[in-house]
């Protein structure tokens, strides 16, 4: 009796407070909108799931204001799940972001097929003609023959290694898969864990690397629903991965210490990461001379081109964007060398524009090699896989790493989800 009275009173108070806030909020919104319309300089809102980079976005915005008269107000989120749900929901409303960061692969296709993105074909055409954009990357921004979004960043997956450890055991960066395994064997004999692995989120790292290195076509077919997770090629990769686990080549996947710390301290000798990882190494003050990176040699020596996994994050304009001409102007400007060079320098990564200045010689070398004729770029598993399949796969691959003998049942579970997904989505 008493309790129920208390609850009601509290609820009423809360409700009263909440209600009194609502008109205020509406009023503020109205004021904000009016001001934006009255101001001479165009300000666009850049929604992103990279909240930690808000100051970088703001700095690029200042550059844009000077160059093209478009000021940028970053709206950063730090939780990707929340962010994705927000953007998905915004498509069904009249309140849309001017520009927003998104994902390539299945998530890009889904929103394009829903008619939610404005095409950027003309920007791509011009960009490729000017040498600011590349055809290798264009493929991942193309849905049904038209382009959408532009690359915010491009990262290539390479092997980071601890130079001190390599020097101590007189090892050189390997140029073949056999050499890589030999390096791992030597390290293991000296009590050094060769490779980094984790069962949380990045459980796909070694799966994609082993599969892409042995059969990139199968990998692409798997991602587009044309191949099964039970294909002999996929099963072989899991068996091989199991052998490497049994050989003790990986860190315990349950270790939660940050990978950059493990590499810096030499707790592990090699880690496969996107070139953005240089930024992580900087965060822990690892001297640039203490670590290096090499292209991961493919296991299959008969491949015409070296497959390199790459990760690219798009920046997009939605259909019915608040200020289409300014929004598109900003996107077009983003593909040019000045912002790309700035972005590469603050993120210590490769620039999406080949003409952008690289932040270091080693990044420049990777960038040049990756955009050269010897390389076939392959989209990262995380972006390439549709969300429901990815969710199952990340869990199952994590379970596999803990219990490597379960590979067949893990693959069957992933395939069951994949079959269910592709039965209601046409394989592309």
């Amino acid at each position: 009796m008493t309790r129920s009275n208390v609850t009601h009173t509290t609820r009423q108070k809360l409700a009263a407070v909440a209600l009194s806030l609502v008109p205020g909020a509406i009023g503020l919104n109205a004021v904000a909108t009016n001001t934006a319309q009255a101001a001479p300089a165009t300000t666009i809102k850049l929604y992103n799931d990279k909240g930690a980079w808000d100051k970088y976005f703001a700095a690029v915005g200042n550059l844009a204001k000077k160059d093209i008269g478009v000021a940028v107000q970053p709206v950063g989120y730090t939780n990707e799940d929340t962010y994705d749900a927000l953007i998905d929901a915004s498509f069904r409303t009249h309140i849309k972001p001017n520009v927003f960061t998104w994902h390539t692969g299945a998530q890009l296709q889904e929103v394009v097929k829903q008619g939610d993105l404005a095409s950027t074909s003309s920007i791509w055409k011009q960009g490729i003609a000017d040498g600011d954009l590349t055809t290798g990357v264009e493929k991942y921004y193309t849905v049904d023959g038209r382009q959408y979004c532009v690359p915010l960043y491009v990262s290539y997956y390479v092997m980071y290694y601890n130079k001190d450890i390599f020097a101590k055991y007189h090892l050189a960066p390997p140029s073949t898969w056999a050499e890589l395994l030999q390096v791992a064997k030597t390290l293991k004999q000296h009590g050094v864990t060769p490779f980094y692995a984790t069962d949380v989120l990045f459980s796909f790292l070694w799966f994609e690397q082993l599969l892409v290195g042995s059969n990139p076509t199968l990998y692409n077919n798997l991602e587009s629903g044309k191949a099964s997770y039970l294909s002999p090629g996929v099963v072989a990769v899991m068996k091989e991965w199991r052998t490497l686990i049994d050989d003790g080549y990986f860190t315990n996947p349950a270790i939660t210490t940050a990978p950059q710390v493990l590499l810096k301290t030499g707790a592990v000798a090699m880690e496969p990461w996107g070139t953005w990882f240089t930024g992580n190494m900087k965060l822990v003050d690892a001297p640039p001379s203490s670590y290096g990176m090499f292209v991961i040699p493919p296991e299959n020596t008969h491949l015409a081109k070296v497959p390199m996994i790459f990760e690219t994050g798009p920046i997009c304009v939605p259909t019915g964007a608040p200020d289409m001409s300014a929004d598109m102007k900003f996107l077009k400007w983003w593909t040019t060398p000045a912002p790309e060079s700035y972005w590469a320098s603050v993120t210590s990564d490769t620039g999406a524009d080949p003409k952008a200045a690289a932040p270091s010689a080693s990044i420049a070398a990777i960038d040049k090699y990756a955009s050269g004729p010897k390389v076939q770029v392959v989209n990262r598993y995380y972006e390439a896989t549709p969300a429901p399949i990815l969710n199952t796969a990340l869990s199952e691959l994590g379970a596999f790493m803990v219990n490597p003998n379960s590979y067949m049942s893990d693959l069957k579970t992933i395939q069951a989800t994949a079959a269910q997904y592709w039965s209601s989505h046409s394989a592309s």
Partner: protein
């Protein structure tokens, strides 16, 4: 039934005409309806659809509910949630009670209780990060084992079931014990000294006094503490999500983490909503059954 029990026993207060009170109540009712009941009804609707967050939900009948019973992830989630309720009720409640009884009335008692209460000031996510470091292979817990010469210093406690779930229950108990203790201390303050003295005069030893006098008199507080623990553990999310994300595989998932990952990671909004409805029904039934039974027992004793 419930309405009858909650009806005021005091003389009927003078209530103004309903029409006169309506404008005062309406804003609150509107907010509650708009922010609580409508979203809940919408979730129930979504649970009968197939929906990926884009476009429009597609009616799917009871397919999501059928899937609940065939999904190995759900079997793990239900099993782990049961472990959480059992462990999360017993461990922190017993520890909290023990701590309260041992330190109550003692000189500097509050100072002995303070260290146990401090973790309560932290967020669940913060606790999870710290315990993740402690429990990782070669982490602080492993170091302690090594120092004491106990094997298992490089065990990955969070990699295998049931270690993973049990370890997380311990982490959660570490946080919950202190506040349970505090609640029991408040309960102990309400125990009349005269009754305890009477028991002593009758020759009751400390243990008998505790079991026969203190514990029964603590009953109202115990009902609250246990009730809160049941509801709290049924919806366990933060610690599990931060420490293992329900993995490896689905081995450490709970109903709440499964609901989140299906909805926001797999973008299966319909299925996620079905799990949410299940969780709501289970939590509602469990709390109602528990409280009803406890209140009836209490009433009968009186």
């Amino acid at each position: 039934m419930a309405r009858v029990r909650l009806a005021p026993r005091s003389p009927k207060p003078q209530v103004a005409k309903p029409l006169a009170t309506a404008p005062f109540i309406a804003p609150a009712v509107l907010v509650v309806v708009a922010l609580m009941y409508l979203p809940f009804l919408y979730s129930v609707y979504i649970s009968f659809t197939s929906y990926n967050g884009l476009g429009a939900p597609r009616w799917d009948g009871i397919a999501n509910y059928v899937q609940l019973f065939h999904d190995p992830e759900m079997a793990d989630a239900i099993r782990n949630t049961a472990v959480w309720v059992a462990g999360g009720v017993v461990v922190p409640v017993v520890l909290g009670l023990g701590l309260a009884v041992l330190t109550y009335g003692m000189r500097h008692g509050p100072w002995y209780r303070l260290p146990f209460l401090l973790p309560y000031a932290m967020s669940g996510a913060g606790i999870a990060v710290i315990w993740g470091f402690i429990l990782q292979p070669g982490g602080a817990f492993g170091d302690i084992l090594k120092l004491l010469g106990i094997p298992g210093s490089s065990t990955a406690w969070l990699s295998y079931w049931p270690d993973s779930t049990l370890a997380m229950v311990v982490a959660s108990a570490w946080q919950a014990t202190g506040v349970n203790c505090l609640l029991f201390v408040v309960g102990l303050q309400a125990v009349p000294v005269a009754v305890l003295e009477a028991a002593e005069i009758d020759g009751a030893k400390a243990f008998t006094k505790f079991v026969r006098v203190t514990l029964p008199l603590l009953r109202p507080m115990t009902i609250v503490v246990v009730g809160l623990a049941i509801v709290g553990t049924l919806k366990t999310f933060d610690i599990v999500w931060v420490m293992t994300q329900g993995g490896p595989g689905y081995t450490s998932t709970t109903l709440a983490t499964a609901m989140y990952s299906q909805t926001f990671v797999a973008n299966s909004y319909g299925y996620g909503a079905a799990i949410a409805v299940l969780l709501t029904v289970v939590t509602g039934l469990a709390s109602a059954t528990y409280l009803k039974q406890q209140v009836q027992v209490g009433a009968a004793k009186r």
